[in-house]
């Protein structure tokens, strides 16, 4: 027993060089290029020519005048907010359904999550066909007598953005479900029973017992969907290519086009800086709000 106290004081301090490989990779791939990116945003760099000149805020001033860029920023925000609301609402309902006494709950959980592991570009190409004028969605509406619902979903400037949102919700609602489900399963059964004994109905039990304990699941789900929505590229690229016209262009698709089809790397990186600012504001803002409500709940 006398040996215990010197033993406790002999702390293992892992050496700093354990961090070296990870930090080198991180610096090479993320930090240094990001810093260079911020610098290039103030130049007219074309991506090839090492010579470039400093243009100050020129790229950002161009952006304000560029209707496509302003629209793309707006689309990015609309998509991120819609996905966040719809995907999490659907995911929560699915989680409540799968967390009930139904017999198919295990099969359904595995089945409903499956789309989330499939490559987004692949499911997006599938949906491009399904949503086409002669696609399966219109055929289905025709078959059940809803001919007036038939639309050119991706070819219409009014509908295409919502079609993109629907495809993403289809793919990732199961992801939200799985995270909510983990939260639901952490709610002890006894707490529910106690509340029921006290006369609380199912809605009241959900609101007063389940919801506060789901706070960590909400934090993760909202974070994932809003950041995923802001960075969205693959599905727009495959479904509409940003079209019709620029009706579905997001910041990411515009960054890609400006850099690789127009050769305007400086301008494209300025758009990436705006994207970075939006992600930073959204995630810190959300984190602040949600961690306050998490503290309030606990």
């Amino acid at each position: 027993m006398t040996l215990a106290s010197p033993a406790r004081r002999a702390r293992t301090t892992p050496p700093w060089w354990f961090m070296a490989p990870a930090l080198l990779l991180f610096a090479f791939v993320v930090l240094v290029p990001s810093a260079r990116g911020v610098y290039y945003a103030f130049t007219d760099w074309d991506g090839l020519d090492p010579h470039h000149s400093f243009v100050g805020l020129g790229n950002f001033a161009d952006m304000v005048r560029d209707a496509d860029a302003v629209q793309a920023i707006w689309h990015t925000l609309v998509i991120a907010v819609s996905i966040t609301l719809v995907q999490n609402a659907v995911g929560l309902l699915l989680a409540l359904g799968v967390n009930s006494a139904i017999k198919s709950r295990n099969v359904l959980r595995v089945f409903l999550f499956a789309p989330a592991v499939v490559t987004p570009i692949v499911t997006a190409y599938l949906w491009r066909n399904l949503l086409g004028p002669d696609g399966a969605v219109n055929s289905l509406f025709g078959a059940v007598g809803l001919d007036s619902w038939r639309q050119d979903w991706l070819g219409s400037a009014d509908l295409a953005l919502w079609a993109v949102v629907a495809v993403i919700v289809w793919q990732f609602a199961g992801y939200s479900m799985v995270i909510f489900l983990a939260g639901l399963q952490s709610v002890p059964q006894e707490v529910h029973e106690a509340a029921a004994l006290d006369g609380a109905g199912p809605v009241r039990r959900f609101w007063s017992v389940t919801r506060p304990l789901l706070a960590p699941a909400f934090t993760i789900n909202l974070m994932l969907s809003i950041i995923g929505g802001i960075k969205l590229f693959d599905q727009v690229y495959a479904l509409t290519g940003g079209g019709p016209g620029h009706a579905t262009d997001t910041l990411s698709t515009l960054i890609y086009k400006d850099a690789f089809t127009l050769g305007e790397f400086g301008y494209s990186i300025a758009l990436a800086v705006v994207l970075t600012i939006i992600v930073a504001v959204a995630s810190t803002g959300q984190y602040a709000v949600l961690s306050r409500s998490e503290r309030a709940a606990s």
């Binding site: 293992t12 961090m19 930090l31 990116g37 499939v118 499911t123 599938l126 799985v178 810190t284």
Partner: protein, 273 residues
């Protein structure tokens, strides 16, 4: 609450109906991939003459076997590297309370917020100068660095909740720090390693933007880029395209259904990690 009541049956039927809606695209995918191009009836009518012809054509003309091999190579190498370096780095970051350790950790967490679009264009230039463009190694290098912040974050969170007594005992018994890490800490990290493995593997496998940039025009494409190229080439030949989509999905779904418990827990595990 756990009894099966008439309301439970209604819920059960409702959930199954929802699952059918979710599964509808998969049915159409299989139906179109399996029918000959001459069949132009409604896409929702099951085909009367199923064929495997589209699959053999897609496999040969799309060079999908090579793409599959490239995807496996890139995913396996990237995930192995990122797990190894991140677990190692997380050890001092979680255990040392000195200032340099805390500020380094904050710097790494900054990487969670920086979108890869910002770094990918300047990095494109660096990869070109190094002659790595068009090779799978550009992707391995990229993912190994890009996934560091998230993976370190998972490991540090997990390590901070672990008691230090075993490591201290190992040190007293004369282990070097590296031995202590290898034989004492690493085995305890197994649960979070499974989570990190699943999430990183899915992220790397499914990535499209980076290989689109770094591998365009090369013959060493990963599956997502090969599929995009295939769609671009056979624009309206949807039966053939659908067969290619099925081929690219099958290995993923096969792994998913075999390891579904581990994979679903991995995705849900971010909650506890």
């Amino acid at each position: 609450m756990n009894r099966y009541r008439p309301r439970t049956l209604a819920l059960e039927l409702g959930m199954i109906a929802t699952a059918l809606v979710v599964g509808f695209p998969v049915y159409v995918l299989a139906n179109l991939a399996a029918r000959p191009a001459s069949d132009t009836s409604s896409p929702i009518r099951p085909t009367g003459s199923p064929t495997l012809e589209n699959f053999t054509h897609a496999w040969q003309q799309g060079a999908l076997g090579g793409a599959l091999a490239n995807s496996v190579l890139v995913t396996a190498c990237s995930v192995a590297i990122v797990l190894a370096v991140s677990a190692l780095a997380a050890y001092p970051l979680a255990r040392v309370t000195a200032r340099w350790s805390r500020s380094t950790y904050l710097l790494v967490l900054l990487g969670l917020v920086l979108p890869f679009q910002l770094a990918s264009l300047p990095l494109y230039q660096t990869m070109r100068d190094l002659g790595l463009l068009g090779t799978p190694w550009a992707l391995v290098l990229f993912h190994s660095g890009l996934q560091v912040p998230f993976t370190v974050f998972l490991y540090v969170g997990f390590l901070r909740a672990l008691p230090r007594d075993f490591e201290d005992a190992a040190l007293i018994d004369g282990c070097t720090p590296l031995q202590g890490f290898r034989y004492v800490v690493l085995p305890m990290l197994k649960p979070v390693t499974v989570t990190a493995l699943v999430l990183n593997a899915v992220a790397v496998w499914n990535d499209f933007f980076t290989p689109l940039l770094y591998l365009s025009g090369s013959d060493r494409q990963t599956m997502p880029v090969a599929i995009a190229g295939f769609v671009g080439q056979y624009v309206t030949d949807w039966n053939l395209i659908f067969a290619a989509l099925v081929i690219s999905i099958l290995p993923v779904l096969l792994v998913y259904f075999l390891l579904q418990r581990i994979i679903i827990n991995g995705f849900a595990g971010g909650l506890r990690g």
